[in-house]
Subunit: 215 residues, 4 copies
Amino acid sequence: MTSIISAQDYEEMKKLASLVRFMNSTGHNPATSGNYSLRSKTLPDTAFISESGINKSKFTEDNFIPINFQTKKMHPDYLSSGRKSSDETDIHLSLFQITKTNCVLHSHILDALLFADLFQGLPCATVEGLELLKGFKGIKSHDLKINIPCFDNTQDIAKLAETIKPKILAEQYCFGILLRGHGLYVWGESVEEAQRHLEVFEYIFKYYIHSHRGK
Amino acid sequence: MTSIISAQDYEEMKKLASLVRFMNSTGHNPATSGNYSLRSKTLPDTAFISESGINKSKFTEDNFIPINFQTKKMHPDYLSSGRKSSDETDIHLSLFQITKTNCVLHSHILDALLFADLFQGLPCATVEGLELLKGFKGIKSHDLKINIPCFDNTQDIAKLAETIKPKILAEQYCFGILLRGHGLYVWGESVEEAQRHLEVFEYIFKYYIHSHRGK
Amino acid sequence: MTSIISAQDYEEMKKLASLVRFMNSTGHNPATSGNYSLRSKTLPDTAFISESGINKSKFTEDNFIPINFQTKKMHPDYLSSGRKSSDETDIHLSLFQITKTNCVLHSHILDALLFADLFQGLPCATVEGLELLKGFKGIKSHDLKINIPCFDNTQDIAKLAETIKPKILAEQYCFGILLRGHGLYVWGESVEEAQRHLEVFEYIFKYYIHSHRGK
Amino acid sequence: MTSIISAQDYEEMKKLASLVRFMNSTGHNPATSGNYSLRSKTLPDTAFISESGINKSKFTEDNFIPINFQTKKMHPDYLSSGRKSSDETDIHLSLFQITKTNCVLHSHILDALLFADLFQGLPCATVEGLELLKGFKGIKSHDLKINIPCFDNTQDIAKLAETIKPKILAEQYCFGILLRGHGLYVWGESVEEAQRHLEVFEYIFKYYIHSHRGK
C-alpha cells in the first residue's frame, strides 16, 4: 500500500479488485484483456487505473496506478516504479472528466460483441421494454428507450477517448458504451452500482442476441 | 430473529433464504431483482415477503417482512422499522389469497422471457409431451397439456395482482405465471416443491426455446 | 450398510452415488428425476436399483435396493423396509438381462431430447465421423456409424422394457438408448466406463444439435 | 519424480498438469481425450509427452514421458516402465521440430469442431477484426487476418504429423491448427502463453459460431 493512497480509496480498490477476479472467472477478461478504474475520494482529479498486463485472476488492490485525469499524468510518486497503466487509460480518463462515475469496468465479454453486431452501421444500440432496465440508476419503468452509443474499434485510443465524449453527453441516460469487435465500457457511482449496471447490460445483450436468433 | 416469528416459520425462512442465494448464483436475480415469500404456519393470514433492495447474494432469513395478505398491512411490530417489502408484494399476496401455496419464488431468469416471447399475443403458453412435466405436483403422465398464464408487463402492480386471479383459478393445474419481458412467478406447497416446480419450468423453457430455434 | 451387501458391491455403490451427485449438479436430474443401477458382483442375478423419490443432490450409497433381475423381485430382506425402487426399474432389469453392463445411468439432460428430435420418426439416431466416438468401448476409429435406438415415451414401463430388447440386441455396438421427450439410458462395464460413455453421448448430442442449427 | 528430470522441467510440468486439470473441468477433455506436452529446458531434443489413457481430472506432473523429438524414441530410462505416451505423440514431436514452442495443448472442445465446420473444404480458417487477436504473441492490432490451418481427421497420425509441417511453416503467424471432427492443437513459448493462446482461440471460435448462426 503506497502511502499516497488513503484508507478510504484503498477500501474501494479492494472491492473493485475482488470484482475484477470474479469477472475474470466469468469470461470478461479472456487472455489477460480488460481494464478497470476508480475515482479517488481523497486525491484531487485523480483516477486509479488498472496496471497493464496483469493476469486478472491474480489482480489485487495493489495493481492500480494513480493518474491525474485532467493532465493525464501519472502521480509523481509512481514515475520511477517502471509500472504502466492500461493501454486504454485515456478512455477511463475521459469518463472521469465528463461523467459523475466513480468506477469504470471494461469487459471483453463475447455477448457485447454479438449484441453490437445486431446494430451494425448505427450510432447507437437502442433497447426497450425489459423490466430489468430498472436496474439502471434512475430508471423507474420498463416502458422507455435507452440508447447505448456504439463505436468502431481502433488502436488510436487517444482519438477514441475524444470521440466518445459528445456521444455520451448527448444521452439523458448513459451507463455504458460499446466498441465493435472489442467490448463494453460500463460505469456507476460506486463499485456496486457499476456491477449492477454490468449485470443489466449482460442481460440485455443475451435477450437481444437470443431474440434475434429466433427470428 | 423478531419475537413474533415462530421457530417453525424461522426454519422455513432459513430454507428459502438458502434457495434465494442459490438462485442468485444461477442467474435468477440479476441486478438485485427478484422477490420471494412464505405463508406463515403460525400467524393467521400472514405472508413473509422479501425485503426490497437486498442484494440476493446476501439474502438471509432475517430479510422477510410479515404482511397480512387479506388486509395487505404490514405487521404492527414492523411499522417503525423503516423496512419495506418488495415493490411486487401485491402479486405474492394475491397468490396466498387464492391458492394453497406456501412458498412463492419470483425469478427474472432470461429463459422465462424468451419462452414467453414464443407465445406472443396468447393468454397462455401451452406445453405438452415432456416426461419432466411429472415433476409438477399431481401430474402422472407426459401425455397432457399444461397452460401457463401469460401477462403483459406493467408498473401497476396493484392492478396486475387482481388481473392474474381469474386466470390462475381457471386452470386445473397452475404452478406458475409469466410476465412478458419481466419473469416468472412459481409456487409450491413447500420450499422444496416450489424449487422442484422451478426446475420443471426452467427445463420446459429451454426445451421450447431450443426446439423453436431449430425449426 | 445392510449386511447382505458385500464390501465389493458397497465400494461400487459409493462410486456410483458420487457420480449421481455430480450428474445432479450438471443438469442430469432436474426436479428429482433420473435413476441409476449396478449389477452385484457377489449376489447372483441381482441388480441394485436407485430408490424412488430421492433428491439426487443427497443421493448416497445407501439409496440402492437389491432386485433379482430375472424374477424382478425385491430381495426378501428389503420387503418390510417400505422402500421402493425407481418406477423405471424394469428398464434397468432388461439391460442387466441382455447386456454385459454392470452400471446403468438414466439422465434427463435436455440435450438428449433435442438430439432425439433431430431423428423424429426414425428407429435410430445414426452418428458418425467424430474422433470422440473412440471414447466408446471397442471403437478404434472416427470413421464408422453408430446407431442409437430411439423409442417413443410411454408410462407403460413394463412394455417398454420388453420393446427395447430386440433393438439393443440388433446393434453391434450399443452403449445407450433414447426415449423421446424423456431422456437417455447409458451403460458400461464399470461406473467409470458408463461415465465415459455418458460424456461421449453428451458431446455427440451437442455437436449434432449445434450443427443442425447452423444449417 | 524420475531422476533424469531437472527441477526446472519439473516446475513446468507442475504448471502444465494444473492447467490440464483446469481444462478438463471446462470441457476440453471429454471421455479421457486430449494430450499435452512440454519441451525440456535441460535435456537435448527432448519433449515430455502426456501419458496415454490417464483420466485428465487426475493428471499430475508425473504423467509425462520423455521422448526425443528428432529420433522419436522414448528416453531409455523409461523403456522398461510399461508406460506409453499419447497415441498422438507424433503431432507434438512435429511441432517441437519446426516451431519454437515450448508447450503444446490438444483440446477436444466442441467449439473447435463447430468452428472448423464453418470453413469446410478450405485449407485454412481465416479470422480478422477482433480486438482479442492481440492476445496472440506479436499481434498489435485487430486489423489483420490470421490463418488457422485445417486438416481432415485421420487415424494415420504419423502421416498427419508430416502433412501439417509445410502448412504451419507457410504462415507468418501460426498459433494452432484444427483437425476437423476432432479438435484443436495450440501452442506457446510457455505454459502461460499456450493458455493465453487457447483463450483467444476459444473466443474466436464462439464469436464466429454465434455470428454465423445469427445470419
